[in-house]
Symmetry: C2
Subunit: 339 residues, 2 copies
DNA sequence: TTGTATGCGTTATCAA
DNA sequence: TTGATAACGCATACAA
């Protein structure tokens, strides 16, 4: 087939200068109609397209966005990514994805690799290890170099940049209140280690709903599960040992694990125990009964993050103050709660 | 903080030429130790990193791989992507992802956008629409331009390139045979429209297992569901109308939908009806009972695809013949079958 | 041992 | 109306 063709090739073939070709293809009024027609026809025939790399070098902008996420198998990140990709594509940007795999080193290495000219800006959600170490020098350096960064979901107050987060505390409050309204008082929380700031906010919401309703907090009703481990026996113990009316889970995997064990122990969902899960994914939708969930609207988060990033990258006035956008989660009531 | 620095900046600052700096940083023996030390120290202090874009332009290779997939929320594609990303990263490549969203146009546009210098090669799985239209001119053009392409899973024989596929027919045969071995004879197949070539292969495997065991094919036991629709009522009708012992589903969503309805109709899984699902994802793992599945080993497919692509991109001898690698699926026996 | 010139593909400025 | 030149950041063949 036709090989890739450059301005130079066209110029040589048509016996004009490179700059004439360039101008003609940009429809510059400097060039005569005849010449333009000739050049355009030739370019069209050989399917000329300007080389992105050369443009990037010249313009000092790549039209690439770097996205760094801890994980892609989890429904939430998947949907955020989809939101980013969709919006970015509409705006003519491409998306380079790196998976940090919850590792600090991978996060740092990937970002440094991309920061050397490959991308114009970053969208990222902090890895577990980064949150644990509380070390953000890599982010500070990138921002110091003038690379715009947008953090989403797993953010940190240590870094001053644009952010998109969920109203975690409020929605956890709302979910807990929903349990209480339907008569529950022994309400459990199944959560992750605390260095995930989102888990902390959710716990706050849970706690404040209890206290608002004058329900004493029972620390035994808070189950902290290790991330990504086989934890069925912990869960089984938990539900055997304590009388529980309702459970709020910080993700849907915990929730289905809990539900399966609850049923196995002979309890009915939602009659004996109600469940609400964060993340409105496939697991929740297709479980039996289907799970009531907190919809995090990942698509919207992604879209907003991309929007904020692109706006900042394209804005000329440097010193717009950083914003934090809050996405409002919504409670989706399905089969695992009494509504 | 320190701003991004270039060779030129270093040269000016240290009052040497750009090429001296370039050579020094590459540890060239041409340059005296003193000069090298001085330059290296300076570069290190200012955290000099060569600009990827400039390197790409010079070397005519970007170290970027373009990945085009129909969808990212589906577990299979997610795992394939993870495999690609992991391997590519190890080899120093970045991954630019585009989601075709099952649309022919998006597939074409995205690929053309990336093909203008942004990437060195493609890994893709055909969109539904592309398979339906059977139009592959965009692929032919890219390949004609010398851009290497690796197809995975949803491939086509129309295009001559490297491919990675699953042994769909064989594993569908094996799954069906497993049903038969455990005493089933009224075996159903729940599948998608036929223009998905993988569905066709799976159907072939299913049919040949039946005929091998002298079980008459009953077309009424094959349910073709539209992709991505609310199809509960179709499924309910299907299981009401026909006496069925076992169901093979071409994806796990269909499988959990079937299972939920089967249970709702008062049947027991696996005692009354056994189920096997393609895709060993979260849904299968956490359903109740957990689903027996065909593990497609997406990670491995992704890794192999990346490996084939990178090998081809880096190989000097142009004319190595194209290969098709076949990944062997494995049957994972869990709670939805009698084992 | 160091520096100059050239080129990768493009655009913009200025000259003809 | 067209063309020559410089520049983006880097690497390298060649000259000094």
């Amino acid at each position: 087939m036709k090989p890739k063709i450059t301005l130079k090739d066209i110029a040589k073939e048509l016996d004009v200068s490179i700059s004439t070709v360039s101008k003609a293809l940009k429809n510059s009024p400097e060039i005569s109609k005849d010449t333009k027609d000739k050049i355009k026809a030739f370019a069209k025939f050989y399917n000329y397209r300007p080389n992105n790399i050369a443009l990037s070098l010249k313009n000092k902008r790549t039209k690439n966005i770097g996205v760094v996420i801890p994980d892609i198998v989890h429904h939430f990140f998947t949907t955020v990514f989809r939101g980013i990709e969709k919006y970015a594509n509409q705006k003519g940007y491409n998306v380079i994805v790196c998976i940090s795999d919850e590792s600090f080193d991978k996060e740092v290495i990937n970002m440094e690799m991309l920061a050397n000219g490959s991308i114009d800006g970053f969208i990222l959600s902090l890895s577990a290890e980064t949150q644990l170490k509380n070390d953000f020098t890599h982010l500070r350096e990138l921002i110091g170099q003038g690379i715009p960064v947008v953090l989403f979901d797993r953010v940190t107050s240590e870094i001053d940049c644009d952010k998109v987060i969920l109203n975690d505390k409020e929605i956890a409050f709302e979910a807990t209140q929903h349990f209480i309204n339907s008569g529950a008082s022994k309400i459990a929380l199944v959560t992750t280690e605390n260095y995930f700031n989102v888990s902390e906010y959710r716990r706050d919401g849970y706690l404040s709903a209890l206290s608002k309703n004058n329900i004493a907090v029972d620390d035994n009703l808070i189950l902290t599960l290790p991330y990504n481990m086989e934890n069925d026996s912990l869960i089984r113990d938990f539900f055997k040992r304590h009388k529980i009316d309702a459970v709020l889970c910080v993700n849907e995997i915990f929730a289905v694990q809990c539900m399966n064990i609850i049923k196995e122990l002979g309890f009915e969902v939602p009659d004996d125990i109600s469940i609400i899960a964060f993340t409105n994914g496939m697991l929740s939708k297709y479980s039996h009964p289907s799970l009531s969930t907190v919809a995090q609207h990942g698509d919207i988060m992604g879209e907003r993050a991309a929007q904020m990033l692109i706006r900042r990258m394209e804005s000329l006035e440097e010193e717009e103050p950083f914003k934090t956008e809050i996405i409002n989660a919504t409670l989706i009531k399905r089969g695992s709660t009494i509504n």
